[in-house]
């Protein structure tokens, strides 16, 4: 029996998932190059186990990104400590996370800033919910938390985003809030 060819049909799946995985990986990586390394390792590992790219197993892919990213970060922190001690530390990169049309660039920057102000746990849940499209149960399985914890983090995150973005409502082009009776 010839082994299944894992080099076929991965492109479409990769094209669709890679930007979302990269966004998720950048939660932990200090720069986009490291985040790409994480995505590369995670996708290759996942595809070997799911050569068809079964949608049902996509949460596992995010969990793989998370595991690898945490490993990389642990190693980075050790390196950074060493480099800081020797005074050759490099600043982390602040490349944009979103790729909006030209007219939406400012909005994207505002949203990005608002996202950055969230706690890492809240940001992770929002990223997995909004861009990865996972359910709360899937996010809970990915992060190792309970569904209730995840749902409540999401709620707090939305509240925080509301608070930050409300004064910018007009700039963001959102409909005005209904007047209170």
């Amino acid at each position: 029996m010839k082994p299944h060819d894992i080099t076929a049909d991965w492109h479409i799946c990769f094209q669709e998932l890679a930007p979302k995985l990269l966004l998720y990986g950048r939660q932990w990586a200090t720069n986009s190059a490291d985040a790409e390394d994480i995505v590369q390792m995670a996708f290759v590992r996942w595809w070997q186990r799911n050569p068809g790219g079964d949608r049902e197993h996509v949460p596992l892919l995010y969990a793989t990104v998370r595991t690898i990213a945490l490993d990389v970060r642990r190693s980075d922190e050790r390196r950074l400590r060493r480099e800081t001690n020797s005074e050759i530390a490099l600043p982390s990169e602040e490349a944009p996370h979103f790729d909006p049309p030209v007219e939406d660039r400012e909005n994207a920057l505002m949203l990005e800033r608002a996202m950055r102000d969230l706690s890492p746990e809240q940001r992770e849940v929002v990223t997995l919910r909004i861009w990865a499209g996972l359910t709360f149960a899937e996010i809970a399985a990915t992060t190792g938390e309970t569904t209730n914890t995840v749902a409540s983090r999401y709620r707090y995150a939305l509240n925080n985003l509301h608070r930050v973005l409300e004064p910018l409502r007009e700039d963001l082009g959102a409909a005005p809030a209904p007047a209170l009776a």
Binding site: P3, W10, R78, L165
Partner: protein, 167 residues
């Protein structure tokens, strides 16, 4: 702005696409795995996997054996070599683990901490700076048949004696 509007606003932001090279790197990795799979005898591919508990015991045993070998080597080195310890020595752990169907991925050594212990004038006329180096050796193997990855981390502590010259 209600929750739905906010969610829609967030969804409307497209994450940045990865660099075009990333797809090439994934292609390369998958090609490597595929070629290894094809080169592996069919029997090895269809062979029934041993029970998970057995695999766990085997890997735990290999890890312990590697640790014992490394500790023994470090101790014997410490007894016989009081001067310069070679940093580029090949760890016995690197050769202890590989099995037939497991492919080595990487073997790295990371310096975790370097401590300056000061200058020693133990040998007249040739002072040396004593450095304590704490490092971690990390060896990785992958089983391309199921993507399982194995990592062994071996912490080490060594002393370096760097010759010092005064003008």
């Amino acid at each position: 702005m209600n929750d739905t509007e906010l969610e829609n606003l967030l969804r409307s932001m497209t994450p940045v696409a990865p660099s075009p090279e990333l797809a090439g790197r994934v292609q390369h990795d998958l090609g490597l795995v595929q070629s290894f799979r094809e080169a592996t005898p069919e029997a090895a591919l269809v062979k029934k996997k041993p029970a998970q508990w057995l695999a766990n015991i085997v890997w735990a045993g290999l890890g312990a054996a590697a640790a014992v070998v490394v500790m023994g080597a470090v101790q014997s080195q410490g007894r016989t070599n009081s001067g310069l310890v070679s940093v580029a020595s090949i760890s016995p752990a690197a050769t202890a683990v590989p099995a037939a169907a497991v492919m080595p991925v990487s073997s790295t050594r990371e310096w975790v901490e370097v401590e300056d212990m000061g200058i020693s004038f133990a040998t007249p006329g040739s002072p040396s700076r004593q450095m304590k180096v704490i490092s971690v050796e990390r060896h990785q193997w992958i089983d391309p048949r199921d993507g399982a990855e194995y990592t062994v981390e071996v912490p080490k502590q060594e002393s370096l004696a760097l010759p010092v010259k005064y003008q």
